[in-house]
């Protein structure tokens, strides 16, 4: 019996998790607000960044790739980065003062804006990266 419960639990959980990976309208709206306050000045209104200074967020492996490292960049900052063979000299500060929800929303927004399309970043994923 216990076993069946466990399986049922796993099925429910994985469907919840899958569902949770889909960006919601609300996450995108809230993420946009965070982007405009903290990210836009450097990464620009269209996510194209600034040549040689601030990296672009348009279809780069950093944005569309491993979520854990992407969350880590927002929380801890980044410097001396090379993106698609181009270097960028401005350091990015860490934004660890943002809440888990804000980080999840802004990354979900970035991963689904500027022609990007990818799964959402969940609050749980941010929490486990702290």
């Amino acid at each position: 019996m216990k076993k069946y419960f466990a399986i049922a639990f796993l099925i429910t959980c994985s469907s919840i998790c899958l569902w949770a990976q889909k960006p919601t309208k609300q996450m995108l709206q809230k993420g946009k607000i965070v982007y405009e306050q903290y990210c836009l000045a450097c990464h620009q209104v269209d996510g194209s960044g600034v040549p040689h200074l601030n990296p672009p967020l348009v279809k780069t492996s950093f944005v569309l790739g491993d979520k854990k490292s992407l969350i880590g960049i927002v929380l801890n900052g980044l410097s001396d980065v090379e993106v698609d063979g181009e270097t960028y000299s401005n350091p990015m500060p860490g934004f660890n003062f943002l809440t888990d929800e804000e980080v999840a929303n802004v990354l979900t927004y970035v991963r689904n804006s500027f022609t990007n399309k990818a799964t959402a970043v969940t609050i749980a994923e941010v929490k486990s990266s702290r």
Binding site: A41, V45, D46, V50, P51, S89
Partner: protein, 410 residues
Amino acid sequence: MVTIFSAFDNVNDSYPKDNPDLKLPSGFKAVTIADNLGGARHLAVTKQGNIYIKLARVKDGKGIIMLQDANHDGKIENQKSFGNYGGTGIYVKDNYLYASSNEEVYRYALNEKGEVISPNQPERIIKGLLNRRQHESKSITLDNDGNIYVNIGAFSNACQEKDRTKGSVGMRPCPVLDSAGGIWQFKANQANQSYGSGVRYATGLRNVVGLDWNTTNNQLFVMQHGRDQLFQLYPEFYDAKQSAELPAEAMYALNKGDNCGWPYIYYDPIQKKKILAPEYGGDGKKTGGEDAIDPIVTFPAHLGPNALLFYTGAMFPERYKNGAFVAFHGSWNRAPEKQKGYFIAFVPFKDGKPNGEWEIFADNFAGVEEVQSPSQAQHRPCGLAQAPDGSLLVSDDVKGTIYKITYKGK
């Protein structure tokens, strides 16, 4: 002796070609003399008319390009490249070509035709300058007394304990200033100088890319790139619009020992005051910097002044004589406001002092009506040089276009 120059590069027969895109005052005309060179930063011209261009990064292993129009028919028939390092600074003085990487300065002897004699064996005159990626370019100019001036930009926005980080305070004294955030003076003819043998000529300059020696009054003039991100770091004192308009991009006339105030203050062009930086207790109103000099000309914020040139030629009308041209690379730190700059400004001068308001001289390098983000700009002016005939040469570091602006009269 190893190969003198790289293999003969492509010289395109379609140049020079008219460039109707640039907006210029009446009587002036622009042509494109070369294109697609790479990230063309600064450029310099010999008295014979040879143009040397410094590339930000090496292209096919070479970081300096020479364009030569030996028969003076307006067509470049020789394009050669050499120098295995990227960088920004390049300058010609008294039969030497000077060029900088982001850590070193080299010089090359020129022959009677204005050609580099030993392109693979430059003399390294300065070494070991700080390069921590941010504001790393080393711009150079020379005076008439055998000195070379090198900008060493601050590897920081406002000398916070944690750079560009909200809530991080400014360090006092700012340790960056010991080895950066100023202009250093060296001898033009001595090998392997570094901090110990140079003089910190002026301090409190966040980053200078455009600088020139004014021969009218024998003085060094520089254009400072003002600090970024007042709104992002201090939303309690500044809104996004104020942050886009503050601080001024400032021109300073320097004397040895001058302090321009960074990081403790910035210059507010609206209040016309030196304002205490918020990292050091400022609130957008408190003044500071009693020991710092005032700018001599102020321009709108964040335009990115990347070149300064005092015009001494005979081609342009009289009012341009001895005046200052400033190439503005174009802003990024005005977002979400639309970006500005991407033009060349002119400031009339008399007896080594500004003599009238600045004006836009050459506009529309960006090639688009409005620039929302810098990557939309098709060209960004970065370097200025005066040709022997008095025409003005401009380099662009997006596509590597070289423009020649001439005056034909009414």
